[in-house]
Symmetry: C2
Subunit: 556 residues, 2 copies
Amino acid sequence: MSLFNLHRKTLEKAISSVKEGVFFNHYPELHTDKIFNEQEISAGYEKFREHLNKKFESLRQAKPLSWEGDEESPFLMKPLNIKYPTFSVETLIKRAKDEFDRWRKIKLEERAGLLLESLKRVENKFHEIAFAQMHTTGMSYHVSFQMAGPHAAQRALNAIAMGYDSLLRFPETDLESISRDEFGIRLNKKWKAVPKGISLIISTPNFPLRDAVPGIYASLITGNPVIINPHASSILPIAIVISEIQKVFSENGYDPDICQIAIETKTEEFAKALADQPEVKLIDFKGNENMLVHLQSLHDKTIFSEKNSINSVILDSVDDLEFTIHNLVLSLALYSGQMNNTPQNFFIPENGIETREGKISYKQFILSFLEELDHLVNHAHSGPLVMGAIQDPQTPDNLAQLESKAQKVYYRASPYKHPDYPNARTLCPMVIELGPDQKEVFFKHYFGPVGLIIKTKDVNQSIMLANETARECGSLYCSAFTTHKNIKDKILDSLTVTNTPVTFNMVGNIYLEKGSAYDHFHLTGGNTASIASSSNLEFVLRRFTWVGYREPVYDE
Amino acid sequence: MSLFNLHRKTLEKAISSVKEGVFFNHYPELHTDKIFNEQEISAGYEKFREHLNKKFESLRQAKPLSWEGDEESPFLMKPLNIKYPTFSVETLIKRAKDEFDRWRKIKLEERAGLLLESLKRVENKFHEIAFAQMHTTGMSYHVSFQMAGPHAAQRALNAIAMGYDSLLRFPETDLESISRDEFGIRLNKKWKAVPKGISLIISTPNFPLRDAVPGIYASLITGNPVIINPHASSILPIAIVISEIQKVFSENGYDPDICQIAIETKTEEFAKALADQPEVKLIDFKGNENMLVHLQSLHDKTIFSEKNSINSVILDSVDDLEFTIHNLVLSLALYSGQMNNTPQNFFIPENGIETREGKISYKQFILSFLEELDHLVNHAHSGPLVMGAIQDPQTPDNLAQLESKAQKVYYRASPYKHPDYPNARTLCPMVIELGPDQKEVFFKHYFGPVGLIIKTKDVNQSIMLANETARECGSLYCSAFTTHKNIKDKILDSLTVTNTPVTFNMVGNIYLEKGSAYDHFHLTGGNTASIASSSNLEFVLRRFTWVGYREPVYDE
């Protein structure tokens, strides 16, 4: 059975789901059973441990320049001491160029079969990948599993499905449409889907896989060879996945260089040098403003980017106060605020919040919020599970500076004690109050666990400021709490025009960013937070072009 | 009957055709009968004459700043003396902003009905528009009719069809998909197609309508208000179309400012000032490199652009020499080379060309080509019909400078005598020979009637140079002549990677660019010639985003 036929059903289900906007979960059972399977967890941990203190030899790129790597576990505060093969920019580009001419000529079904098979192999390594994610990013084990395992794989599958379906839009070479010209000459017309060139994926320190795999698989399915440049602090999760892809290529007679890893531990100049190459036509990038400005200055390249953005919470009225606060605290604390969809700005009216049991004052709301936060931070089991560790050594200093801008400091970003990892670099969320006029403070994005409470005059001011945040700084999403239809409509309309998705009245254990796993509409591509949407078809369409051929035919 | 139902059948046919890549001609009969209807031509001419020497009062934008206009007919060499209303950048942006909040809320069917109705009105004015096109651009009457009439309208219809269909991809508000979360909470999800903002269309001197209407209709159908800035030399064709659109809006209770014209006769600084406005989110632009560089420096805007590019002809072997040469001469001379898809570089091997009747030498081929060209230029009827007049007063000087670079001058770009317009600014095509090493000359685009014969070592060098032209300078298409399958395959592959469409062995009266009217795959968006393809769905998809809303629902 061909690889394509082996995975055909999965592909067909994924296609019908991306077409209708109802993303199905190919990996749902993993959320419940598999993730807690002690035996598989142990086996995964052993696999992870086997990588430590040695060369990572599973990649199949020939003749490395050197072996390098200085990843460090934010939990152990020790180097992983894994060395990866490195290659010069010239070697990477030359190999990708050579593969471009082969890969683009391979039949779509064959490409799809290889990619779906690689995803299947990755699925068998979810536990190993979870530990790799944990000990590079500081994410707790269970969150790591979700993000780097099923969420990342589902996004990859969606990208394959969208690409596959889009490439079938026009008949490629066999079917020919013939139109009779007014002069009586008939034209044979053919359309060919032509990939754009080398695809460069620049990955992130915090979500090496979830942010990178949609681009990797979208580029590969549409015929573009890929070079992936992981962040120096988070190489291992990507190296595991890329080595699975390369293995599938090798086993089936293709060159592993179709999908290369490009490692450089020292500097972001390496990523820039790769991006500057004229043969690199596609760039997927998530990260800082400086790099983005550089990339946007390059012409004749198609760029899919996401940058740090500021997510707002609008509080007006709630049904159940306790459930609401539980959800807000969880969203703020999850992975210590190091998610691109963590809420940062909480707009709370000075007159307080309506609840089912009557109005509570601004002060009372803050107190309840802090109480719940304190409960989580001090909960020996849940605290570490939710918060994990801090990836970037700079984060504690950055937050300390922010404290001086506060009108009130409600909660300090101090380290908490991790029960399993006494050396872990940790921080509990900082909560401070700002006035509605302190835009120079809250119109900035802070990386790490930061909740800025902005005390507004009323909900109208809150809405206005959330709208302005999205327009000026970019928002991935907004979370709003209201039980009034007219206010809900106003929020919807006001955030709609900024292309910001809104989540209403989310309660309980649903992390605010949860929905983004499967139907990641959180990247609308419509405000400065992102100029790419991995759910919009342009995410695959812009990786190839339709090129037409015409030729007259004559009647016999 | 609603406007939508009135035009529903047309829309449905257009949708099924753009989906399958087989563009149907909604206006096919116009090519044959209507275009030659003397009575309609006279009526159209009268309508055109009525515009001369007065204010253009049919636009419905209120309170103009002033009335301006200095268009000049390249045929009459006299000012048209039509004055158009002008508005400040502030007024235009303010009105568009106000309309944005209304237009985006109008139901898709209603938007589609209004736009289809406006196209129907435009169709009734094709003859008037043809004269407007002729006396602003210098295009002959019959070519003007085709380009500004049916070709432009078909592109507009295709844009409406693609936009309409794309907006139905996901259920907007009524249908809700519900997914059960692992914690047992169900989520209501809704998707909304949200337009990006104000759409600015910057139009061209030579193809004011054909280049502009796809963007105008694509932006309008997807909910974005439009500001269109015509080139100061070619306002009238656009003013006629925009006034029809505005009339349909007014008659149906909508504000004409949904689609505004922005006129400034003096400077391109006005277009830049409009483009720089933060509310302008979409820019459609065709034109010069300087302006494009400026537009690309603007962030957070979606740009659809086309720039001057260089189209190659590869000559290897032909079936019928006479028919081939007839086609080449026609393609070079059509509208005096002022089309963006005119061939400029003719790669001819020094060893000559194979034909059905045996090999002919390089020299003999050139002689036959020049003979046919001379015949056309001196043909009292066909010559003017094909060549028309020269739009830009600078063109004669520019070409004179080019002559000094030639190794041989075969044919001079001298004026020809137009039988109907003795004062017309005319030029017959210049034909000169260059060596294959004179890349600094033939890797430049020359506006106007220029055929550069590049004498190559063999067809392989021709292919290499055509490939390099497309990669370095951008090509809209390539025209190739070969009767050998292996060479055809080589050309296909070599041009494919540059995303350049190829036309093989085109003979007779089919203009090389002909196919671009209905299935305008000539804009692949894949090389520097264009970063937009009006046939690719991204042309409409990037004008709006899908924004999601989520909310938990509880079982009763």
